[in-house]
C-alpha cells in the first residue's frame, strides 16, 4: 500500500518535471525556429555600430621627400539639438570656451536638425575644455586638418584646401581625386558597454602621396631673393622660376605677393594668384631670343654678320622705332648683347611673318605649356592673319605678344638643352604606400625639337656674350659661365592706352653653366620703383644671386676659375665685445691627417661658442684639371678622339672643319664635361652691312 503511494508520488513528480521541461524546450524551439530572424535582426541592431571615417589627404613631398603638406586628425564639436536639455546653459558655456558669439550657438541648438556643427577642427585645449564640460547632446567627432609646415613656401604651387578638405588651387586641386581619400563608413560590433570587439574592415582607398619636382632649398633661395628684390625696388609683384632644362622639371616657382595656405581665406585673391603661370605680360627684349633663334635656324643670318642699326631709329609701316642707344653697325652677336631693337626688327623682316609665326608657335607661345597646375593662361598671340604691317616689328621686340613666365623659361630651356622643348611639370610621382601609381600628368617623355642643335649652340654662345659684354653684366657668375638675356618691357598705361615709360616689367632669363646647363632661371619684377629699373639693373642681379647659391647646392662643378681671393667668414655672436681681433683666430689645419683634422675641427668648433670668432674656410672642389685642347681646324674624327682620350664629352655640330668651341681652348674642366664644337666653313671677312 505504502509502496503504491510512493509510486504515485514519483509518477506525479516525474510528470510535472516532464511537463516543465517540455514547456521550456518547446519555447526554445519556437524562438529558435520561428522567431530566429527577428531576434537576429534585433541583436544586430544593438551590437552593430556605423562609424564614419573622415577622408584623409595624402602627404605632398618635395623631390627629397621633405613634407610640404600633411594632414593630422583633429576633433570637431557637433550637437544633437534634441538631446540638449538646457539650451541657455549650453550656449553660455560653449560660447565662453570657443569664443563664438552666443547667438550663433543658440541658433544651432534650437534648430530642428538632428546634427549641427558647433565648431570644426578645434585646437587641443578647446577639445579638453569641451570634454570637461560634459554637456549632454554635445559630442566630438574626428576630422582631418591640413597643415603646411613651411607656411607660405611654395604656396602657389601647393594650393590649399577648404574646410571640407577639398583642394582649392595648385597641386591640391589638380590632383584632388588622387590625394584625397574617400569618406568611408565602417561597421563595428560592440558589447553592452559599447566596447568594440570586431573593428570591421576599412577600405583600402587611402589618399595618395605626391612627390613634387620642387626642391625645398632651391624654392627657399628663389623666394628669399625675390622678396629681397621686391623690397629693394618696392615692386608690387614678381616671380622667379628655376627649371631643369634637360627634363622640364620645375625646381622652384616663387611668386610675390605670397600667402599662407594655413590661412588662405585671410589673403586677397590677388595674393593667391600664381603669376608664374597666369600673369600675362609682354616679354620685351627677352623675346629677341626667339627672333634670332628662328633666323639662325633658317640659316638666314650668321653670328658675325653685320647689320646697320640706323643710328638707333628705323621706320616700319609708318611707325618710327627708337633704340635705347644710337647704335650703328652691329654684328648679330652685338645686336643681342646690346639688345638693339632696330637690329632685331631687321632680322625679323628678313625672316618674314609666316616663318616667324611658326617658330613662335613652335616654342610654345600662344598655347598653354600643359604644366600640371590649374589656371594656366595660354598667353596672347594674335593669329597670323590678324597681324598688321607693323606686327612683325613689334613682335620681334617682344611687344604685341603676351606670354607667361613659364612659357619664357620653357623656351629658354629649349635653347639651353640643344633645341628640345620639354613640357614643364611639377609632380614626379604619386605613391600610395610603397606603390607608385599611374596618373595622368604631363607627357614628359615627349620633347619637341624646335631648333637644330647648332642653332641652340650658337645662341648659347651669343647669350653668354650678353653677360660677358652686353646688358647682362650684372648676371655674371663667380665661378661658372652663364648665358642669358635681359628684358625691359613697357606696360600699357590704362589711363592713356599707350606704353608707359615708368611702369615696366624687368626680367632676366638665363641658364648656367653655358656648357651642359644645369638650371634655367627666369626673374620677372613687375613695375620696380626707382631708376634705373630695367632688367639689367633689377632682374639680372637676382639671377646672379640665385644661380650662385643653387649651383653649388646642386654640386655643379665650376667651369671658370675663381679669382684667388681668400676671405674669412666670422661668426658674430651676441657678445658685449664684438671687436674680437682676427689675430686670435685659430685656423683650421687642413694639412693634418684625417682623424686629427676632424678632431682639430671639432676642437676648434667647440672653442667658438662665446670666446673666439673662428675662421671658417669652406673648401670647395676646384673646376677641374683637364685643359681643353684647341680644336680649331680639326676634323670631326680628330675632335671626337681628342675628347674621348681626355675623358670629355664631345658635342659635334655642323660639318667640315672645327671653327668654334665651347669651352674655349685652355679652359680647365672636369672629367665628363660636355665640349661643344661647331664645324663649318671659315666665315667671310667682308662684313657687308644690311
Amino acid at each position: 500500500m505504502e509502496q503504491e503511494k510512493v509510486h504515485v508520488r514519483l509518477l506525479t513528480v516525474a510528470g510535472v518535471a516532464l511537463f516543465w521541461m517540455a514547456a521550456i524546450f518547446g519555447r526554445v524551439a519556437y524562438l529558435q525556429l520561428f522567431r530566429h530572424s527577428e531576434y537576429l535582426a534585433r541583436a544586430a541592431k544593438q551590437q552593430r555600430k556605423r562609424i564614419d571615417i573622415a577622408p584623409k589627404r595624402g602627404v605632398i613631398y618635395d623631390r627629397n621627400l621633405r613634407p610640404l603638406a600633411m594632414s593630422i586628425p583633429v576633433q570637431s564639436a557637433f550637437a544633437v539639438p534634441s538631446e540638449v536639455k538646457d539650451v541657455g546653459m549650453a550656449t553660455r558655456l560653449l560660447a565662453g570656451v570657443l569664443g563664438i558669439p552666443a547667438e550663433e550657438i543658440r541658433q544651432e541648438l534650437e534648430s530642428e536638425n538632428t546634427f549641427v556643427w558647433i565648431k570644426r577642427k578645434l585646437a587641443p585645449d578647446k577639445v579638453e575644455a569641451i570634454q570637461s564640460l560634459n554637456l549632454k547632446g554635445i559630442y566630438l567627432q574626428e576630422e582631418n586638418q591640413r597643415y603646411y609646415p613651411k607656411r607660405d613656401m611654395a604656396a602657389h604651387v601647393l594650393g590649399f584646401v577648404n574646410i571640407d578638405e577639398k583642394g582649392m588651387g595648385g597641386i591640391e586641386e589638380r590632383y584632388d581625386d588622387l590625394i584625397r581619400s574617400k569618406a568611408e563608413k565602417v561597421v563595428v560590433m560592440t558589447d553592452g558597454r559599447q566596447r568594440w570587439y570586431d573593428g570591421g574592415e576599412t577600405l583600402h582607398d587611402r589618399g595618395a602621396n605626391a612627390v613634387l619636382t620642387l626642391d625645398e632649398r632651391i624654392q627657399y633661395i628663389a623666394e628669399r631673393e625675390l622678396a629681397a628684390a621686391i623690397e629693394k625696388t618696392h615692386a608690387p609683384a614678381g616671380s622667379v622660376i628655376v627649371q631643369d632644362p634637360n627634363s622640364g622639371a620645375i625646381l622652384a616657382m616663387a611668386n610675390w605677393p605670397r600667402f599662407n595656405p594655413n590661412a588662405a581665406t585671410n589673403s586677397p585673391d590677388e595674393a593667391r594668384m600664381n603669376r608664374a603661370i597666369s600673369a600675362i605680360y609682354e616679354p620685351g627684349s627677352t623675346f629677341k631670343l626667339i627672333t634670332l633663334a628662328a633666323a639662325f635656324d633658317q640659316g638666314l643670318i650668321r653670328a658675325d654678320e653685320v647689320f646697320d642699326c640706323e643710328n638707333g631709329a628705323v621706320t616700319v609701316a609708318g611707325h618710327l622705332i627708337h633704340d635705347h642707344k644710337r647704335y650703328g653697325m652691329l654684328t648679330v652677336a652685338d645686336i643681342l648683347a646690346n639688345s638693339s631693337d632696330v637690329g632685331a626688327i631687321k632680322i625679323a623682316l628678313r625672316l618674314g611673318s609666316p616663318k616667324f609665326f611658326d617658330y613662335i608657335k613652335g616654342f610654345g607661345f600662344g598655347t598653354p605649356t600643359g604644366v600640371d597646375l590649374p589656371g594656366e593662361s595660354r598667353g596672347l598671340l594674335h593669329r597670323l592673319d590678324h597681324w598688321g604691317s607693323y606686327s612683325i616689328a613689334s613682335v620681334s621686340m617682344g611687344q604685341e605678344v603676351g606670354v607667361t613666365p613659364l612659357q619664357i623659361v620653357t623656351a629658354v630651356s629649349a635653347i639651353a638643352n640643344g633645341g628640345l622643348l620639354y613640357k614643364p611639370y611639377l609632380v614626379q610621382k604619386m605613391m600610395r604606400g610603397n606603390q607608385v601609381l599611374a596618373f595622368e600628368g604631363p607627357e614628359t617623355d615627349e620633347a619637341k625639337r624646335v631648333v637644330r642643335p647648332e642653332t641652340a649652340a650658337t645662341l648659347r654662345r651669343l647669350m653668354e656674350g650678353v653677360i660677358l659684354h652686353g646688358t647682362g653684366k650684372a648676371a655674371r657668375l663667380d665661378g661658372w659661365t652663364a648665358a642669358g638675356k635681359t628684358g625691359t618691357a613697357q606696360k600699357i598705361d590704362p589711363a592713356t592706352g599707350r606704353y608707359s615709360p615708368k611702369n615696366v616689367i624687368a626680367s632676366f632669363a638665363g641658364f648656367a653653366p653655358v656648357n651642359n646647363p644645369a638650371v634655367t632661371v627666369l626673374v620677372t619684377v613687375d613695375s620696380p620703383g626707382g631708376f634705373p629699373h630695367d632688367g639689367a639693373t633689377v632682374a639680372a642681379p637676382v639671377f646672379k644671386k640665385i644661380a650662385e647659391q643653387v649651383l653649388p647646392y646642386l654640386d655643379v662643378a665650376r667651369d671658370v676659375p675663381l679669382s684667388p681671393q681668400l676671405m674669412q667668414t666670422a661668426y658674430s655672436t651676441k657678445m658685449e665685445n664684438d671687436e674680437a681681433p682676427l689675430d686670435d683666430l685659430a685656423p683650421i689645419d687642413f694639412s693634418a691627417p684625417l682623424e686629427d683634422t676632424k678632431e682639430s675641427v671639432k676642437a676648434n668648433s667647440t672653442q667658438t661658442t662665446l670666446q673666439k670668432l673662428p675662421e671658417v674656410m669652406m673648401a670647395v672642389d676646384e673646376g677641374g684639371d683637364i685643359a681643353v685642347p684647341d680644336f680649331t681646324g680639326k676634323t670631326m674624327r680628330e675632335v671626337a678622339d681628342g675628347c674621348l682620350k681626355l675623358g670629355l664629352n664631345p658635342v659635334l655640330v655642323g660639318s667640315n672643319l672645327a671653327i668654334q668651341q665651347v669651352p674655349a681652348a685652355g679652359a680647365k674642366v672636369r672629367r665628363g664635361t660636355k665640349v661643344t664644337v661647331e664645324f663649318g666653313m671659315q666665315p667671310a671677312r667682308s662684313g657687308k652691312a644690311h
Binding site: 613651411k150 657668375l477 681671393q565 683634422t597 671658417v616 673648401a619 670647395v620 672642389d621
Partner: protein
Amino acid sequence: MPLSANTARVPSEKVAVMTTRSLRREVMGGNCKKPATAEFYTVKRIDNSRLVRHMEPAKMRNLLRTAALGGVIAVFFMLYVYQHFRCIDMSFQLEDLKGKQVQAAELNGKLKLEIATLRDPHRIDVIAQHELGFKRPEANQVREYVNLDGAEVAALEYTRLNRAP
C-alpha cells in the same frame, strides 16, 4: 578472525558447530595443550543481495563505454564554448591594441609635422641670423684648392658632410 575452510559460508538453515578442539587447533595451530571447552558460535545470516547488486560484466562495459563517450562530447562542448568566449575576449584586446596603434600613428603624424615645422628653412635662417648672429657667406668667400691631396680631400668631405639632409 578469518573464516577457515571449515566455517565457509553456509546456508542459513544450517548452523555450524565447531568443537573446541577443532577451534583450538584452528586458532593455536594445532599444538596446544590446554583442555578443550564446549563453545558454540552462530554464524550470522548476512543477506546483502538486495544492497550489493551483482553487475554483469558486459553491462558494466557498455556503461563505461557510454560514459566515456558522453564525457568526450562534454569536453569538446566545453572546449568549444571556452574558445568562443576566449575569441570574444581576444577581440576586445585586439580592438584595444588597434586603438593604441591608431593613437601612436596619430602621435607619429603630429611629431612629423612638428619636425617639418622646425626644419622650415626660413625659421632656421631667422634663428641663424638674428639669434645666433650668423652671416651668410658671399660666393667669393671661398678658398679654391688646386691639386687636392689627401688632407684637403678630407676637408672637402667634411665640408660636404656638413650639408644638412
